[in-house]
């Protein structure tokens, strides 16, 4: 490798013949074949970032697998080169360091991808409740579903421990209460429903009522009633 040889050069030559250029800067051994290192991992992060607004795109298991595979391969190349470097080839040290940087970047991208998805899944519990719609469920990996279930359970335990006997459902009362009575529409047949002053209301599908809010809340949660916002 002709890394030296600066003695030949005097001042700035306007153009060096290509062959001489190649002699001066020989092509380094490719650190990674098949594209720029860290591309797949960065791609995962980019795609997730593009699906903004808290949406959960499908889990890219294949992309993750490829990024991990790349890390494994980089590490193996480094292992080989480290032993060579130890036996004299100190010129490989830059390459080893470069591969190590790629490894770190891959690790960072992969973890960022997974962690950001967890944050979005966490937000789903607060928005949709305990049972997630099927469309979202499809976008989650099995491990993510497991994480979600454990989070749900942990949250439920905490909410039960606060606020007396029944606990305090913190996923309710998200907005300050504006009025005592609310306009609701019935989404499915429920039957008779008694309100405070003894009167009963028949909840049939598509009927509309003006009911006290605290009575309706649990029915709204169950999906029997729908709050009509004018």
């Amino acid at each position: 490798m002709a890394a030296g040889g600066t003695g030949e050069r005097r001042g700035l030559a306007p153009s060096l013949p290509l062959a001489a250029e190649r002699r001066r800067f020989p092509r380094p051994r490719a650190a990674w074949r098949g594209g720029m290192a860290g591309e797949r991992a960065a791609g995962l992060v980019r795609e997730l970032h593009r699906a903004g607004g808290g949406n959960l795109p499908p889990f890219r298991a294949e992309g993750l697998r490829q990024a991990l595979e790349e890390m494994r391969a980089l590490y193996e190349r480094n292992q080989a080169d480290v032993s060579e470097a130890k036996s004299g080839r100190t010129d490989l040290i830059f390459l080893i360091r470069f591969r190590h940087c790629c490894l770190l970047r891959n690790q960072r991208c992969v973890l960022a991808y997974l962690y950001d998805r967890l944050l979005r899944i966490r937000a789903l519990r607060w928005e949709y409740g305990s049972v997630l719609p099927n469309t979202i469920h499809f976008h989650m990996s099995a491990e993510e579903v497991e994480w979600f279930n454990r989070y749900k359970k942990s949250l439920a335990t905490y909410m039960r421990s606060v606020g007396g006997e029944e606990g305090l459902d913190l996923t309710q009362d998200i907005k300050p209460p504006k009025s005592l009575y609310i306009e609701v529409r019935c989404l499915r047949d429920y039957g008779e429903f008694e309100i405070d002053d003894g009167t009963t209301v028949l909840l049939k599908k598509n009927s509309q009522h003006f009911l006290p809010r605290w009575k309706c809340e649990h029915l709204i949660r169950q999906g029997v009633l729908e709050h009509i916002l004018s």
């Binding site: 494994r72 305090l168 309710q172």
Partner: protein, 224 residues
């Protein structure tokens, strides 16, 4: 509110170190103060188990009173609205704390672990259990899905270093409740020098959180 709840409630009903007797109005005011402070502070503040316990007791008390009340009484609606409002403030306060616990979970747990014996706790026992479970859940997930498939020298990740810390340098608005003297204000630019100010009672300021953090804890200022 006094009509529905009757007499004033005790502070620590389980006979804590201080028997504070607060009227319901004072109790709700301290709940609101804790709520506002928690909302505007960048970090997780001290937990206030006594306030929460008393408010919950108060709410139960009011609900029970309402059940006994005459039907169609106008007061019922008003007290009902009061209950809803108080419940909203309490829920919002606890939610705010949970959000911060989840956001800064390694730092919160670390702070609690390295707490000195007499210092007040920032986590209630239930919050502590929740935080620990959250950390274990997340660590296990990351380890099983990614870390254990990575090269041996990259399998450990320090969550304490990777998860961002709360930004204590963010600016907050505050109102002064007790007069403070000689608060040191750090310089913003190279040309300025640090100077001290006195905080007059009732005045309002916009200042870095870090400078006045202890004053929030002691109740000398209120974040707005």
């Amino acid at each position: 509110m006094a009509a529905a709840s009757g007499e004033g409630t005790e502070g620590d009903s389980d006979g804590g170190s201080e028997e504070l007797v607060l009227t319901p109005a004072q109790l709700i005011r301290s709940l609101e103060q804790a709520w506002l402070n928690e909302k505007f502070a960048p970090e997780l503040l001290e937990s206030k188990p006594e306030i929460i316990e008393c408010v919950v007791e108060q709410l139960d008390h009011m609900e029970a009173n309402l059940k006994r009340a005459k039907r169609g009484d106008l007061k019922v609606s008003i007290h009902r609205m009061e209950i809803e409002r108080i419940r909203y403030v309490l829920s919002s306060y606890l939610r705010c704390r949970l959000v911060k616990i989840e956001k800064f979970f390694p730092h919160v747990l670390e702070k609690e672990k390295s707490r000195a014996e007499g210092d007040p706790s920032i986590l209630s026992p239930e919050e502590f259990a929740f935080a620990k479970e959250y950390m274990a859940n997340t660590e296990t997930y990351l380890r099983n899905v990614a870390l254990k498939h990575m090269p041996p020298n990259l399998q450990k990740v320090s969550l304490l270093k990777s998860v961002p810390k709360p930004n204590l340098d963010s600016f907050v608005f505050l109102r002064v409740l007790e007069r403070q003297e000689n608060i040191l204000v750090e310089p913003e630019t190279d040309e300025q020098r640090e100077y001290t100010i006195d905080l007059e009672e009732g005045s309002q300021h916009l200042i870095r959180y870090k400078t006045i953090a202890p004053l929030v804890a002691s109740g000398a200022v209120q974040l707005i």
